[in-house]
Subunit: 186 residues, 2 copies
DNA sequence: ATTAGTCAAGAACGTTCGTTCCTAAACTCC
DNA sequence: GGAGTTTAGGAACGAACGTTCTTGACTAAT
């Protein structure tokens, strides 16, 4: 009963995640959200409670629909070089990684709930990289774990470089070279 | 002539850089700066023009006094493993790297002047990593450049992980393992 | 001693922020 | 076809933002 809502909640969440991936949390106003999402203020507050509530929902959506599949593809990559190619190759995941980047840098330190959302995702990232790396009996196990952690860091770092303005060709070069090197020595 | 100023400009800039390294640009208000720096509003505006002006001066100060020396130590490290240890080992540079991190992620995309400040610094970082890696005649030159780029990305990525809440021991493990691996294959 | 110039202190400015209130419209159920 | 309920729309709220203005304190040169 009651008037039916004139918007699709899933669509709104997806659009919000996209918007939050372009600028910082504080850099996006409620007016921006209202304008960009085409949904009125009142509806947003009714549905998500607050700006932070909408942000958290959008973040969780992005982690689930963008990052989680990426993690799966990394795990299935076979080797570290493939994992790197998978993580950096797909432009569709750029928005998800950007949102993850900003959540980690500027939100997690001041919002414990954001930190709690990120921790398992980053751990899963590490685990996936670990899986992609495979076991090598002649190598120290801790060593492999550490390299997997470093791979996650490298993916995020390269994405950060791209966001900071480093040309895409340079990023691609770094990714390709690292993949090449990792492959040769694995 | 005139009343002498009751604060040291260099000290203020250093304190501002430290404060800006803890939270996002928008997350720090002018009141926060006035309180933390112990300098009055009017003096800050007289000296730096605006909040953004103070931020830019603080950013440049940090790049020059924290990042530039770090880049030099990376270049002098001798090999990639040493470069990684140098970059992650010193807690004194954490503030500088955090500020660099947030500047790259959230300011550079919306403030061209910040992007212009960061670009040469990141390029210098790459160059230093390139120097630390050294030349290996049996290896492709582009390959070495790419690995140097990746090292910069890894340093930033690991620093990001630390900021997002990943335990320090985990970060250290990743750094040590990567250093170990790089050393063995270099 | 007076004057001119700079700085400190704090009130106050107009805007913008996130949020809430109020009313009209649109639907289901009885 | 009212009654009841939920949404849409827009105005309006207090608070906080970056910035400016006004006043009084202080110092150096005249």
């Amino acid at each position: 009963m009651g008037r039916p809502r004139g918007f699709d909640e899933a669509t709104v969440v997806r659009s919000a995640a996209e918007l939050f991936s372009t600028r910082s949390y504080d850099g996006i106003s409620m007016d921006d959200l209202v304008t960009h999402l085409g949904v009125h203020r009142n509806s947003l507050y009714k549905t998500f409670g607050s700006k932070r509530g909408l942000y958290l929902v959008a973040l969780r959506w992005s982690l689930r629909h963008h990052i989680a599949p990426l993690v799966d593809r990394v795990a299935a990559a076979g080797d570290l070089a493939g994992a790197l190619r998978v993580a950096l190759g797909e432009p569709a995941t750029e928005a998800g990684l950007n949102l993850l980047l900003m959540a980690a840098v500027e939100r997690a330190p001041v919002d414990p709930e954001v930190a709690d959302e990120l921790a398992p995702v980053l751990a899963a990232f590490d685990q996936a990289a670990r899986t992609a790396a495979g076991r090598h009996p002649d190598r120290d196990e801790q060593d492999d774990d550490g390299v997997a952690l470093a791979l996650t860091a490298t993916i995020l770092g390269l994405r950060l470089r791209a966001r900071a303005g480093t040309p895409g060709t340079t990023i691609d070069q770094a990714g390709a070279a690292l993949a090449h090197r990792l492959t040769r020595h694995t």
